[in-house]
Amino acid sequence: MKTSNTANTGDSSTDSTPHGRTSGAGRLLITVYAVFAISATARAGFQIATAFADAPVAYLLSAFAAVVYIVATVALAKPGAGWAKVASAAICVELVGVLVVGALSVFDPAAFPHATVWSMFGKGYGYIPLLLPIIGLIWLYRHRDEK
């Protein structure tokens, strides 16, 4: 990753911005994914440990979301075409998840009385759960030819 920093030392020139999938803005994307992975895991663990019987479906969904975020974080951070495919797959699952759960929670709120991260398209989190997979897929598409 250091190698992508070329001899160009100026920090205002666009040329100094590293271009790798795991560099530059990619590191910010990975950071946001990591925050969601950690917090989703903690939240799902807490829900399942303390109140699983109240809403097993919602809390299993929380756990599933947590796993998806973990896989996406790791895959985004690892270099290589194989990890890029894993990241694409995980982020597609994430996008489908937020769209399906978001739509269901809007049109059939009775089915989702217990909120998850994807309820209402992630409204409780500033719609970041909805924006994140879209930004992630755009990022992966722009870096699709990298080894």
Binding site: K2, N5, P18, S23, A42, A44, A115, T116
Partner: protein, 134 residues
């Protein structure tokens, strides 16, 4: 959620750190003393808050919620500036400041959740709180 002096102080430090790092990132600065010290200030606040919370809990005060959940948040919040620093320093570009700007605001959200655990929530069942645990 009850706002006490600790939470207000934590929010000021966390938001200030986020703003400082964001401004530096938008100006395309690499991480410098100012942005790194703002991250250190967040870490210092958490350490002080953790020690003070321990003293308060050993004394007369008690948590409305679960102790392990409270200390889980405390531990994670304490790790965030360290992880953010490490992740940002592996590649020093102006993007590192964006990465570090995410730390302060995340800690603020976690402090808000810790205040809920400390004082209890308006709604009785905290497990029904929407979301992913921030």
């Amino acid at each position: 959620m009850t706002l006490d002096g600790w939470i207000i102080a934590g929010m000021v430090v966390g938001i200030a750190s986020t703003v400082v790092c964001l401004v530096a990132a938008i100006m395309k600065k690499k991480p410098n003393d100012v942005t790194l010290l703002s991250l250190a200030a967040v870490e210092l606040f958490i350490v002080v808050y953790a020690i003070a919370s321990g003293v308060r809990l050993l004394g007369a005060e008690s948590l409305a919620g679960e102790a392990w959940e409270f200390w889980g948040y405390m531990f994670t919040a304490a790790m965030l500036p360290v992880a953010g620093f490490y992740w940002a320093m592996m590649e020093r570009t102006h993007w590192s400041n964006y990465v570090m700007s995410a730390v302060g605001i995340t800690v603020v959200v976690m402090l808000a959740r810790m205040a809920q655990i400390w004082y209890g929530m308006a709604t009785p069942v905290s497990a029904l709180q929407p979301g992913i645990g921030l």
